[in-house]
Symmetry: C2
Subunit: 350 residues, 2 copies
C-alpha cells in the first residue's frame, strides 16, 4: 500500500476520506498541458503524442512541470484514456489538431482482435513513469493514477474518434445491448488491470473519467456507466483496501446522486454545470466532492473568475472538498491566472 | 387570443395548463426534417435553407408533412433560431453539411450594426407561414411557435458558428459581463417581438430553446439564461395572458428546478440525460414536463426503444406530461420507428 503506517496522510487523501480541511486541497484536470510553454518544448521532443505517454523520462517531466510552478496538492500522471485500447491491440493514433483516430470496432466478432493479456505488458512504460514520479514528487504531493471509464473509452473505440453525440456507439449499444456489453465487460477487466498496475507502481489515488456519461438516458446510464464503475471500484478495493477513488461522470446531472451512492467511490468530481449549493445538499452529504470552476473562467480571469472561485468555496468549503475545474484546463489559459487561482484557494478562510 | 371562448381546449394546451390526460399528447422536436423523403424534396426546391424558412408555401408544406404522416398533437412552425440575428441584420448563411455561418460580433461597439426595428418586418414571411398553418392544420393540432433563447442565439452570433464549448461567447461574457449583457438585452427584446408576432399570427403555444444553457456555471446561468427567460415570459404573458410557454434549458441538470420555478413557464422540456423519476419528483411537481426519449433510441428501434419509451411513460405518465424526444430527431431516423413510437404512446395505459 502507498500509505505507510504511522505516516501522516497527505491532504488530498484526508479530504477523500471525508475530513474537512481548513484549506481545500487543489489540483486541476489536465494541469500538465499545452497552456505551459515548458510542456510544448517537451512535447516537441517526444515526436508523437503516444510517444510522450510511453517515454517515462518525458512523461515524468511533463507531470512535474505544473507541480514546480504551482505546488498543487496532487499530481496526475501524464497519460491518456486511450492507452487502454492501444494496450488491447486496437490501432490508435493522435492527429495534430484533430484529436485521436482509431480503427473502429463496431461488431462483436471484432472483439476477438483485442487481447486483455497484452494490456499490462504493453503499458509497462506507464507504470515506470508512476514509479519515477513517486520518487521525484515532493513528499506532500499526492500521486493520482487514472483511466477512462468503459463507456467513454468505448465511444472512441466504436466511433473511431470523438463525436458530439456518440451516435455510432449508441447505435451498437441500443441495437445489440448484450453484444455491446461484451465490449464493456472487456473494458471493465482492462481498467481493473491498468489501474491495479498503477497502484502497485505507487499511485495513491485513482480518478476514473466518464466524460460522455451525461449523454446516456437513465437506463443505459445505469447499465453502461454506473454498473461497470461499481465492478471496477469493488475489484480495486478488494485488492487495495486503502485506495481512494474519484469518479467523474460528466454531465450526469441528478444521476450523479445514485452514481456516488452506489459505486463505492470516495470522491465525486463535479462538472462545470453542477450548481454548488445543490452539490452540497445532494452529493457532499455522501462524501468528498471535487470541482468545479469553468475552465473558461480561468481563461478570462479578473472579477468574474474570482466571483466564480469564491462562490464554489463558499458553498463547498465547509465539507470534504477538493478544488478543481469542471473540465480540463484549455490551451489558451494564461499561466498567471492559474497562479492567481491557487493563491485565492490557499488564502480562503470561509 | 388563439383560444376561442367556449371551444374545448386542445390536448397539448390542456397538459400545459396542468391537466393529467389519459393519453400523453406527442410531438417531436425537429419533426419536420431530413429523415422524411418528402422534406428532402421540398428542401431541394427551396434552394437555400433560409429561403425555405422565408417562403411561406414551402415552410407551410414541410411543417405539415409530419402531421400528415403521424397526426402529432402539435405542429411546430418550420423555421430556425437564427432568423433573429438575420432579422437584426447580422449576415447568416447555412453551409451544407457544416451548419450555420455568421459574421461574428465580438465587441460591444458592433451592436450598433444590429437593428431591433428590422426584426418583425424582415420576418414577415415567417408570420405569414404561421397564418397559413392555422388555417391548414387539423382542428385538433396545436400550433407551436418558437425562438432560440438569448444565450444560445448569442453563442452563434459571437462564435460565428456552433462550437463545442462556446469559448468565444464565454470569453466575452466573462471578461466584460456588462457589455455582453447589452447583447443579451437586445436579444430579449428581439425574442419578445418575434414571439409576440407569432402569437398574433396564430401560434397557440411557444417553445424557447436554450440548447447551450447547460454549459454555464450557476451564476452565469442565472444571469444569462434564467433571468432573460423570466423577462421574456413576463412580457409575453402581459400581452397574451392565455399563452402557454415551454422552456428547454438543455443540460441544466439540477438548475432546471429553479428555472422552472422562477421563469413563469408552463412546461419544461427535459433533455435525454434527465432521469424520469427525478423529473417526476423535482419538476413535474411544479408543472407540465415534456420529453425525453434519446433520439438515438428512435434510430435504433426494437426492444431498447420500447423499453425506453415505457420507462418514460411509467414515470411521467401519471402527471401533466407531453411525450417528446430529449433533443431533435436526427436525419438517419427510420420513419417507421416514428410510427411505432406514436402507436406505443397512443396505446399506453399506465
Amino acid at each position: 500500500m502507498s500509505h505507510e503506517i504511522g505516516a501522516p496522510q497527505k491532504r488530498l487523501i484526508r479530504a477523500l476520506k471525508g475530513e474537512v480541511l481548513d484549506q481545500a486541497p487543489i489540483w486541476l484536470m489536465r494541469q500538465a498541458g499545452r497552456y505551459l510553454p515548458e510542456y510544448k518544448k517537451t512535447r516537441a521532443q517526444a515526436g508523437s503524442f503516444l510517444n510522450l505517454c510511453y517515454t517515462p523520462e518525458l512523461a515524468e517531466e511533463v507531470t512535474l512541470q505544473p507541480i514546480r510552478r504551482y505546488g498543487f496538492d496532487a499530481s496526475i500522471l501524464f497519460s491518456d484514456i486511450l492507452v487502454i485500447p492501444d494496450g488491447l491491440g486496437q490501432k490508435v493514433s493522435f492527429v495534430e489538431g484533430e484529436g485521436p483516430v482509431l480503427e473502429p470496432i463496431t461488431r462483436v466478432e471484432e472483439l476477438a482482435k483485442l487481447d486483455l493479456t497484452r494490456v499490462v505488458p504493453h503499458l509497462a512504460p506507464v507504470y515506470e513513469t508512476v514509479r519515477r514520479l513517486r520518487k521525484s514528487l515532493p513528499a506532500e504531493t499526492t500521486l493520482i493514477g487514472f483511466a477512462g471509464a468503459p463507456w467513454t473509452v468505448a465511444t472512441y473505440m466504436v466511433g473511431g474518434k470523438g463525436s458530439p453525440d456518440q451516435g455510432a456507439t449508441k447505435a451498437w449499444a441500443y441495437r445489440a445491448p448484450d453484444e455491446f456489453q461484451k465490449l464493456i465487460d472487456l473494458l471493465v477487466e482492462a481498467t481493473i488491470l491498468h489501474l491495479g498496475a498503477q497502484v502497485k507502481a505507487g499511485a495513491e489515488v485513482l480518478q476514473i473519467f466518464d466524460t460522455w456519461a451525461g449523454s446516456l438516458p437513465e437506463l443505459p446510464f445505469r447499465r453502461f456507466a454506473l454498473e461497470p464503475m461499481k465492478r471496477i471500484v469493488a475489484a480495486l478495493k478488494a485488492q487495495f483496501p486503502d485506495i481512494s477513488i474519484i469518479g467523474f461522470p460528466r454531465g450526469a446531472g441528478s444521476m450523479a446522486v445514485d452514481y456516488f451512492r452506489e459505486t463505492g467511490i470516495n470522491g465525486l468530481s463535479l462538472d462545470t454545470g453542477v450548481a454548488p449549493a445543490w452539490a452540497r445538499r445532494e452529493l457532499q452529504s455522501l462524501g468528498c466532492v471535487q470541482g468545479n470552476l469553468d475552465p473558461l473562467l480561468l481563461v478570462a480571469g479578473g472579477p468574474e473568475m474570482r466571483r466564480g472561485i469564491e462562490h464554489i468555496l463558499r458553498e463547498l468549503g465547509q465539507g470534504p472538498f477538493i478544488f478543481n475545474l469542471g473540465h480540463g484546463i484549455v490551451p489558451q489559459t494564461p499561466p498567471d491566472h492559474v497562479a492567481e487561482l491557487v493563491d485565492i484557494v490557499r488564502g480562503w478562510r470561509g
